[in-house]
């Protein structure tokens, strides 16, 4: 039977090394073509008229002026008179015109009358949420939480949470749709789901799935928000049909991108946590709420990570319905919220116990379950990297280096995620001239998917990387699932490995007779096919492939592959520690140092893996310090659907970062595990804890903007602060 398992350390020529991404030159030179960059002959520009009101009924729609405008090719009402709108930004009329200014003029010429209805958009204060905006609460109980609360020797109580944030992909959502003939549709979407989008579009249009071609080379950010083909994309395809098949480009404007194209739900919780006086956590009690739009929001997994072992637990959760566009998956759905609330409450508990949180977390680490030892090692490693024991001081005293007005603080957090490989098929072809192709209907979100495929194929075949051509981004290639939940690297590396092993074994069968040996005695290494243990008996790769005559070898590798070695796994830990300075006169928080220690099984490309962690931490700084979608209660609209007031961190805001990837024995043999989500989870908690440590008081909700920091300082509410 073929041996698929990953090569051991010492036998790897590419896997685990720092390798530059193979599409780097295209990206740095501006030549990489993203969906937004594609211009097609006779292309029309699509635009959408969206509802300015959060809750309204349409009284009338007059599109006559727009229809008469020169250059306007399609005007399409998407809602009828009487239709009820449930959030600001709902699509009402679509237009397609010969150029963008004309399409914009056409939108401005459309007149819609609305009957405004009452809306609700701000869920931060649970007591002010009307009854009809609350979904039925869910409750969970373990042990005897009420009794344990009464018996707890030390107890803290607090409110913690985060605001809604938006994905703010730099390439907005959208696509270009064109009918190549009466029946066949070509679509260039900006997507995380190349292999799924064709079927989805076909269902919406009522045409066979084999009539829809999806192509995408590069995507400008997704982060969980770009799975669906989207209603505006479907309308672009319909308008293209109306316009005789001409391509219609429909990309969202920035304000629409931030309003309707995805958000992470808010999460707020009133928490009580109890412990023995020597610091053993005994009870968790939380009443939580949050909103991700019309469907409310599910309960994040409170108490995070420690839910495994805290003996007594009670959770109650309210999903709150708001007149806002629906949430979308956001890297590690629900985890950053659960982590923030849990790690903040536990840090407050450590402070009340007069314990160093590092000691407190390690003392309770068995409560995290099977990865307790990994967490412990990672906590100690991170503490060493940030010089925790040298710098940390009890809450409110200010860490080493504090001044009268600028207080320094340290905070920590830990996290988990699954990250097992998704379903993926790979066709790997070895040509008689020795060149190799790998084909997968996958997509590279900037995580390095192309590079990983090339590394795995080249490693398996003992070839230089550039011998392998990688084809992705086309739904006519073998199915590979959507990129979400850190599932891609495990999926595509497993299917590519199996395809390459099988193709290589077929090649061995062809060349073994000529080498007077049997296929099982052959190996491929260093650009040669050779007898195992006897490199002098060898052929060059080209000589070996020439034995194929005119017929290439193609092998299909599948993930999952029951009965074969498991090449991917799920379940990681990860620890982050933040070092901040807070100016207590201005409330401004500044990052000094930010440390991550992260495990993820076997790493294929160390360089792009580290980039994932750096990127996640920087996004986390944005989440912790800057980002919030601000809803206007009066108008029901997003007040900051732009990049001036929807704040992201810049290069100057991040401080110094260090990332340590945990590799080697105990990790590599687990197989490949995804990395997109786990390091995004902890930053909010680690930074909030660092700020609490610095200023001696918990800032209840993030982002930790100057106004929130100053308000917390003024209240001096400590763990008992109310929002």
């Amino acid at each position: 039977m073929a041996d698929y398992k990953w090569p051991e350390e010492g036998k790897r020529s590419l896997i685990g090394k720092r390798i530059s991404r193979i599409d780097g030159p295209l990206k740095v030179s501006g030549k990489a073509k993203y969906t937004f960059d594609i211009n097609r002959p006779e292309m029309l520009f699509g635009k959408m008229l969206r509802s300015p009101y959060a809750h309204a009924k349409i009284k009338s729609i007059d599109t006559s002026a727009a229809e008469k405008m020169p250059g306007v090719k399609v005007v399409k009402k998407l809602l009828e008179v009487g239709a009820e709108i449930q959030y600001a930004g709902v699509d009402i009329v679509a237009v397609a015109a010969v150029d963008e200014p004309t399409a914009e003029d056409a939108i401005r010429a459309i007149k819609v009358e609305y009957e405004k209805l009452p809306h609700f958009v701000n869920e931060q204060d649970l007591d002010k949420v009307p009854a009809d905006r609350r979904r039925p609460p869910t409750e969970d109980k373990k042990g005897e939480p009420d009794k344990a609360l009464q018996e707890a020797e030390v107890l803290i109580e607090g409110v913690f949470g985060n605001e809604v944030i938006t994905h703010c992909c730099l390439e907005s959502h959208g696509l270009i749709a064109e009918w190549e003939d009466e029946n066949n549709l070509l679509v260039h979407p900006s997507t995380q789901a190349v292999s799924r989008n064709g079927g989805e579009m076909a269902r919406a249009l009522g045409i066979p799935a084999n009539n829809v071609r999806i192509k995408m080379d590069h995507v400008g950010g997704g982060f969980g928000s770009k799975f669906p083909i989207d209603p505006w994309g479907i309308e672009a395809a319909r308008m293209s049909k109306t316009a005789g098949g001409k391509p219609v480009k429909m990309m969202l404007e920035r304000d629409a991108e931030l309003t309707v194209a995805g958000s992470r739900p808010s999460a707020f919780a009133r928490v009580k946590v109890g412990a023995t006086k020597d610091g053993k956590i005994t009870v968790w009690h939380s009443e939580s709420w949050g909103s991700g739009g019309l469907a409310g929001a599910g309960r994040p997994p409170y108490p995070y990570v420690f839910n495994f072992g805290i003996p007594h637990q009670y959770t109650k959760h309210h999903g709150i319905i708001t007149n806002t566009a629906q949430q979308r998956a956001w890297r590690a759905p629900n985890h950053p919220q659960a982590c923030l609330v849990t790690m903040s409450a536990l840090e407050d508990l450590a402070a009340k116990l007069n314990m160093d949180p590092l000691d407190f977390f390690i003392q309770n680490i068995e409560l995290t379950g099977i990865r307790a030892n990994v967490y412990k090692d990672e906590l100690l490693k991170a503490a060493e990297m940030i010089e925790w024991k040298k710098l940390w001081r009890p809450r409110g005293e200010g860490a080493v280096g504090s001044t009268k007005t600028v207080k320094r603080g340290l905070g920590l957090s830990l996290h988990t995620w699954g990250g097992g490989g998704h379903p993926s098929d790979c066709d790997l072809t070895i040509h008689p001239d020795g060149s190799v192709e790998a084909k997968l209907g996958s997509q590279d979100l900037g995580t390095g998917t192309r590079t990983v495929i090339q590394i795995v194929a080249a490693e398996t075949l003992g070839l230089p990387m550039d011998t392998v051509k990688v084809h992705i981004g086309d739904n006519r290639l073998p199915f590979s699932d959507a990129s979400g939940g850190s599932t891609t690297v495990g999926g595509i590396s497993s299917s590519t490995r199996r395809a390459a092993v099988d193709a290589l074994n077929t090649l061995f069968e062809k060349v073994a007779p000529a080498m007077n040996t049997t296929p099982d005695k052959l190996e491929a290494a260093g650009g040669k096919v050779q007898v195992i243990g006897n490199p002098s008996s060898s052929m060059t790769w080209k000589q070996a492939c020439a034995k194929l005559g005119t017929q290439p070898i193609t092998a299909r590798g599948k993930q999952p592959a029951p009965g074969k070695e498991t090449l991917t796994n799920a379940g990681v830990g990860g620890v982050q520690m933040a070092d901040v300075s807070v100016d207590i006169e201005t409330g401004i928080v500044k990052m000094n140092n930010f440390i991550a220690v992260q495990d993820c099984g076997l790493i294929i490309d160390l360089k792009t893996a580290e980039s994932q962690v750096y990127g996640a931490m920087i996004m986390g700084v944005c989440f912790a310090l800057y980002e919030e979608r601000v809803m206007d209660s009066q108008t029901g609209r997003v007040l900051n659907p732009n990049m001036e007031f929807y704040k992201l961190a810049g290069l100057a805001d991040i401080g110094n970062f260090k990332v340590h990837m945990v590799t080697g024995k105990g990790h590599d043999e687990r197989g490949v595990i995804g990395l997109g989500e786990p390091p995004t989870v902890s930053p909010g908690a680690a930074i909030s804890n660092a700020v609490a440590n610095a200023i001696g008081v918990r800032v209840p909700t993030i982002p930790l903007t100057p106004d929130r920091v100053l308000a917390a300082l003024e209240k001096k509410g400590g763990a008992n602060a109310k929002i």
Binding site: S20, R21, D23, G24, P25, K27, V28, S29, G30, K31, A32, K33, Y34, F36, D37, N39, D99, E100, P101, C168, C169, L170, E171, S172, H218, V219, G220, G221, G222, F223, E253, R254, L445, G446, T447, K607, T608, E610, S611, Q612, Y614, G615, A616, M617, I618, M619, N642, M643, E644, L648, A649, G650, L651, A652, I654, F657
Partner: protein, 223 residues
Amino acid sequence: MSSSDERSDKPDNSGVSRRNFLKGTSVALTIPLVAKSERVVKAAGADVPILGPGKVNITLNLNGAPKPASVEPRVTLLDALRNDLDITGAKRVCDRATCGACTVIVDSKAVYACTMLAIEAQGKKIQTAEGLEQNGKLHPVQQAFWDNDAQQCGFCTPGFVMACKALLDKHPTPTPEQIELGTGGNLCRCGTYVGIKAAIAQASQQMRKTRPARLTRGGKSNG
């Protein structure tokens, strides 16, 4: 038709003081006359053509070559590059001078292409990320971005590359403060700033090696 390349570096030789007076203070008034302009009005004592609202023919000096286009006067340089000339390295993200994804270099300065009209950009030397390679080789800034993985999705990358090039052209050995200012107009969503910092350090070293000595004398920047 005049050659926009020749016009870019020289003030008008008409002797009219308007141009010298306004030189460097306004981009709007450096618009060269457009052929077939139908109307002219007097403004500040000079003849100023009225353009539009229909399309006008323009020529942009783009990456060293003249590129004709036909655009409405309200079209930005960014949209003219992307929609009319199919030069798409500069990206449209915020479209209002916040994020820097559209950064191009205009007459040696990093400029947001979303806030300059295409008609204003005539007569200026416009450089985009596509124009940095020489003899098929990446520019040191581009090479450094690749080597240091200063990119993930890559949508902000061409803008950052141009901002960093403009920074290093002006400050061959930038201080941390100059780096923060020089990149302060650009945002990345994937979080590639750690790589960008490393890329700037590498490119600075590389560019000083290949630069004529007089430009790096004493290793000091010109402020």
